[in-house]
Symmetry: C2
Subunit: 452 residues, 2 copies
């Protein structure tokens, strides 16, 4: 094997110690709140059968699935025609498995396969990476984490309310306060589509609406017109998007012919959140919110940072038939997902990470001889057992080299173990900031380090 200059696949990343501490800081807060709200963790395999994944994310999604080559002599199970028919056909013959694309389809599969053991409503959370063969760009990676919480098997409005409270608590704990939760209802969008004359093109309608932020109202209007929509009705819908008074909006929705129950549902949701929950809840109705995923059927939501220009940092919604595709009908679900990578970027830009999360030792033990080093074995072990992050320079070396190392790792204290110290039982503790040093008994060393 010749020496290879190693590299990373495009769109993937290593996370070194500093980045990992920050990512863990976010994940720990999300996880703590998932548990607080009664969600139980599950994990599913990275690889799923392609029969499970294919056809669930639209045609484009199918192309973005990472497919795994069958093991062994995969060609032996193909014919000449299979090869002549081209890559797309051949893939089905030489690949049976793919990497998961999100955590929602694996959840649906899990629920269907375990339906007899699960007590519904089933509240699960899942924090795992997903993979998409997407074109890498700023903020878009080929491997990224999703942090999902879903409630399966309940239609009660409480689920929407508690997911909103959960979002609120997570962003509060992250000290990320500049955000807004935008909500909408798929039924509104379907009514709008019908109103402009696109009743049978609701998905295309939603896709266009979704672009307003990017390409502006005028071009969206043009696109809708090209799809066959009526221009005066388009303008009516667009003007509705700008109406800020929720009362007026809901009344106009009623006039348009939106189902009364849906409107009352949205009203109840806002009423519930208006009860004082001892927390500031930042929700607003945004009729232009569309969300790309096609499986949503009820309320949808998206979290936007108001402090940084960035795509959504969280989202979710209700879906009434996720498990139907696997043969289990009538199971309603609702879920939210946190975008770990984008939350990280926002927090980095706004400098929201606490300083103390960097992982450096509390003290480094330095020494002058083999005998000192061996004596220090017990000291470092004793300190660790007391909860102090102690580190021992691991081999005999010049004292300057050891202090250089202590500077590099940024340790606040060093503890010197020399012959004097071994004889007297008093060890020199040096404050690396002030340069002060003081001979202390081991229990005093511990007390001093514990205070920091």
């Amino acid at each position: 094997m010749s020496k290879t200059k190693p590299s990373l696949p495009r769109g993937t990343r290593d996370f070194g110690p500093e980045i990992m501490s920050k990512r863990s800081f976010i994940i720990d807060i999300i996880k703590k709140n998932f548990i607080k709200y009664g969600f139980a963790q599950i994990e599913t395999p990275a690889m799923e059968n392609l029969s499970v994944l294919t056809g669930k994310y639209g045609d484009e999604g199918d192309q973005l699935l990472y497919k795994i080559l069958n093991s062994g002599d995969f060609l032996s199970k193909t014919s000449k025609e299979d090869i002549e028919k081209g890559s797309r056909h051949l893939t089905t013959k030489i690949s049976e498995k793919g990497l998961r694309y999100d955590l929602t389809v694996p959840l649906a599969r899990f629920v269907v396969m375990n339906q007899n053991e699960i007590t519904f409503p089933f509240k699960r959370f899942q924090i795992q990476p997903v993979w998409r063969a997407d074109r890498p760009q700023k903020g878009r990676y080929r491997e990224f984490y999703q942090c999902d919480a879903d409630i399966i098997g309940s239609k009660g409005l409480w689920s929407e309310v508690e997911l909103t409270l959960l979002l609120t608590d997570v962003f509060h704990d992250l000290r990320l306060e500049d955000y807004i939760i935008k909500i909408n209802h798929r039924a509104f969008l379907f009514s709008f589509a019908e109103l402009v004359g696109l009743k049978y093109q609701t998905i295309s309608f939603c896709t266009e609406i979704d672009k307003i932020d990017k390409i502006g109202e005028d071009r969206v209007a043009e696109n809708l017109k090209a799809l066959g929509a009526n221009i005066s009705q388009i303008n009516e819908v667009l003007s509705l998007f700008k109406e800020n008074d929720k009362g007026i909006v809901l009344e106009r929705l009623l006039n348009i012919g939106v189902n009364k129950e849906v409107i009352s549902n949205i009203n109840s949701y806002f009423e519930a959140l208006a009860m004082s929950f001892d927390k500031k809840i930042k929700v607003e109705l945004d009729l232009s919110l569309a969300r790309g995923l096609s499986y949503y059927t009820g309320m949808i939501l998206e979290v936007k940072s108001t402090g940084v220009q960035m795509g959504s940092i969280g989202g979710g919604g209700r879906y009434d038939d996720l498990t139907g595709v696997f043969g289990l009908k009538g199971i309603s679900g609702v879920g939210i997902s946190f975008g770990l990578d984008r939350i990280y970027d926002v927090m980095e830009e706004l400098k929201l990470f606490p300083e103390e999360i960097a992982s450096r030792p509390d003290v480094l033990i330095v020494h002058f001889s083999e005998e000192n080093l061996k004596h220090a074995y017990r000291i470092v072990s004793g300190l660790r057992d007391k909860g102090i992050k102690a580190e021992l320079y691991p081999e005999t070396a010049g004292i300057r080299k050891q202090f250089d190392y202590s500077d590099k790792i940024g340790v606040p204290y060093t503890l010197i173990v020399g012959d004097n110290e071994m004889n007297s039982g008093r060890y020199m503790l040096k404050d690396m900031k002030t340069g002060n040093q003081e001979p202390l008994k081991m229990d005093e060393v511990m007390r001093r380090l514990k205070q920091n």
Copy 2:
């Protein structure tokens, strides 16, 4: 898309809530100790370039790598000859990436790519899944977690000592006390190989020695003889394996011609561990311990359960040139790895998981009407904010259905919210074990639940 009956790829598993709590229990303890011993977490991508992975695990390992099909029209970059040459050759043309096979080669790649930012000695830990296209069998999966801690860039014996202390603390915290840490040194094995006349077949020699447990001494002796080894020397080595007195063993090793420094190194290791570390350290020298991985060059170790018949539940060793293959010479490393899945199996068999780790709510709130339900929103939210795992039956339903649900999820208390409760401000708290119920003010409810 027709309805598909969903299934899991062979050799992979879903982890439901109960199993996940137990797995998290193990992982949390391992992680806590990694941090206690000063290791910093990193993560690397699931996908690595095949140029990084191939050739690092032997020929058999290469066959066990999961390869990812290139995206798009992969056939367009192949010729007719590529296809005629067969699957193995074609793979190199249609697949550039694979799933990581272990965490050690990715670590080596990480170190080489980040050598200018890393302060050595570099102590990192990594807890991530790996994938192998192995034949699935009991205790062997195609996706499984590795939990690795490595120290890169130090040759000091302290590293071996602190990794042994770390192993000891982890198994102590898991309350898994029936185990033994077996250690050996590659130099001993190389000397044995030379002694029996297999100086140039050391890897084959180690592979055979590794089989003693499985096929017995006699067949191993036969196999070694078939490789060309001298039978009387084979017997000398085998008899040495049975010698229990460490002093005698080390003297005989000296006579065989094992490097003096290595013997003194092993001696120092045992001496260091013999110092009282306030913990019981279970290490023994086992000259027949070989370990399959070819990159080890120094001390090697393996952890065996003595309570359950099972392969090793942990292992590790020193390697002097892991990064050499990526062009960075002279970096010595030493590491250990915990086998999460096997530790799980041992703990399950010995019933070592604490009972209280199951994730069930502390209290379920039941209700009689839509109005009661809405009133309960604030109650459940308030309880959660106080650290009580409260759950609300999420929709209006008959009271029997709600109590059925509380039985199924095994919740110890229910809190009843009816009109009486709403009017009086006293809520009925029912102990589900005794059936006793008592009307309590909300702060009393909290106090009562906090006690549990």
